[in-house]
């Protein structure tokens, strides 16, 4: 009992420390840059102009799906969530958040699928399916320009800590940790590409290499394959913890969904 209480106190302290560090980062010269800043001017122009940005096609698809009735209850997302621009504003900026029912953090994709299962009584979308990505893009698009919120929920602290541990853990045959590239060598080049600081500001992103929209988990799995580690499965706790840590690390940077990345 005592140890549990101690754990809770520790969690609160860690949560507060995390908050302080982000506040400090905002007060001092903030050296954090979105991946946008590392792109070529032509790719930046592609993201800035909604007619050039192919992610906007998927946002349109997502809106159509959002308004389409589905499942046994024959309800559309918009039937409950109403005026989407207001009801979904800022939602993507504060996810993953803690879900009481499952007792762990859940991200936007899982939120959408759980709502689909419980409220619409429909089959959940496959991870990384076009349907799921387009609804994600549509919801996250409602938060474009809104700063990513630092998770203040103390219950998230142990998960974020696990995410940070993973970020600093050497993995794979190349024996590399995320921070060795994205903290220590950000701005330098890996082959022909600039290494960004790994702030998840624009997910789901339209990645030119993929020629399609993709989630943060796809990006993380791509990086894991790159360091020749076995990638974690879609929806695995490791990837969600990493997402949680990366979001808190990027707190304050505005969301850009749907971002374009090289």
């Amino acid at each position: 009992m005592r140890s549990r209480r101690r754990a809770v106190v520790l969690a609160v302290v860690i949560g507060a420390a995390g908050l302080q560090s982000t506040v400090a980062a905002e007060q001092g010269a903030d050296s954090r840059r979105s991946g946008f800043a590392f792109m070529s001017p032509s790719t930046q122009a592609m993201q800035r102009d909604d007619t050039q940005n192919p992610g906007m096609l998927m946002v349109g698809d997502g809106e159509a799906l959002w308004r389409r009735k589905a499942g046994k209850t024959d309800q559309a997302c918009s039937d409950c969530h109403g005026a989407t621009a207001a009801s979904m504003r800022g939602v993507a900026a504060r996810l993953p958040d803690f879900d009481l029912r499952v007792g762990r953090p859940v991200n936007l994709a899982e939120r959408i699928n759980r709502c689909r299962e419980r409220r619409q009584q429909a089959e959940p979308f496959r991870p990384e399916s076009q349907e799921l990505l387009s609804i994600e893009a549509f919801v996250a698009f409602q938060s474009r320009g809104i700063p990513i919120a630092a998770a203040t929920d103390a219950r998230l602290a142990p998960f974020r800590e696990r995410g940070e541990q993973l970020f600093r853990q050497r993995m794979g045959q190349l024996d590399l940790a995320c921070n060795q590239c994205h903290d220590d060598s950000a701005g330098k080049r890996l082959g022909g590409s600039v290494i960004p600081q790994a702030h998840p500001t624009g997910y789901p992103i339209y990645r030119l290499e993929w020629q399609s929209l993709g989630s943060l988990q796809r990006r993380l799995r791509g990086c894991l394959t790159g360091i020749r580690a076995e990638p974690f499965a879609y929806g695995s706790p490791e990837l969600v913890n990493l997402e949680l840590y990366l979001k808190s690390r990027a707190a304050g940077l505005p969301l850009e969904t749907p971002a374009v990345r090289p």
Binding site: D49, D50, T51, Q52, N53, P54, M56, L57, G60, D61, E63, A64, L208, Q211, S212
Partner: protein
């Protein structure tokens, strides 16, 4: 479904040069790639984009395998009179999509 995005100035003065940009959702599958099970993915390309301004063709383009997915195409034309711009994409496997956009010329 919003499968094409077209930007045309809604109004222009007669004689003005106007920029028109188009973006359409299409995988632009080259026919050279194999899927995870080793089967060749059949070619599926947009072959042609044409734009008619009140029935007269003002622009056309041919696309090939090296064009990226979701092709973007921007071009200029001279605003002559009010009317409609009609965009037609044609491609493999009977792919065809037509969109029309109105323009007001003063």
């Amino acid at each position: 479904m919003a499968r094409a995005l077209i930007k045309v100035p809604s109004s222009a003065r007669r004689g003005d040069m106007v920029e028109i940009s188009t973006l359409i959702a299409h995988p632009m599958e080259t026919g050279f790639r194999a899927s995870a099970d080793g089967q060749r993915i059949p070619r599926s390309l947009i072959r042609r984009l044409a734009c008619e301004y009140n029935g007269a063709q003002v622009f056309s383009a041919e696309f090939f395998a090296a064009v990226a997915a979701n092709p973007y195409c921007a071009f200029f034309t001279v605003a002559t009179e009010s009317g409609t711009l009609r965009f037609t994409w044609e491609g493999d496997d009977g792919f065809a999509q037509t969109e029309t956009v109105a323009i007001t010329v003063t």
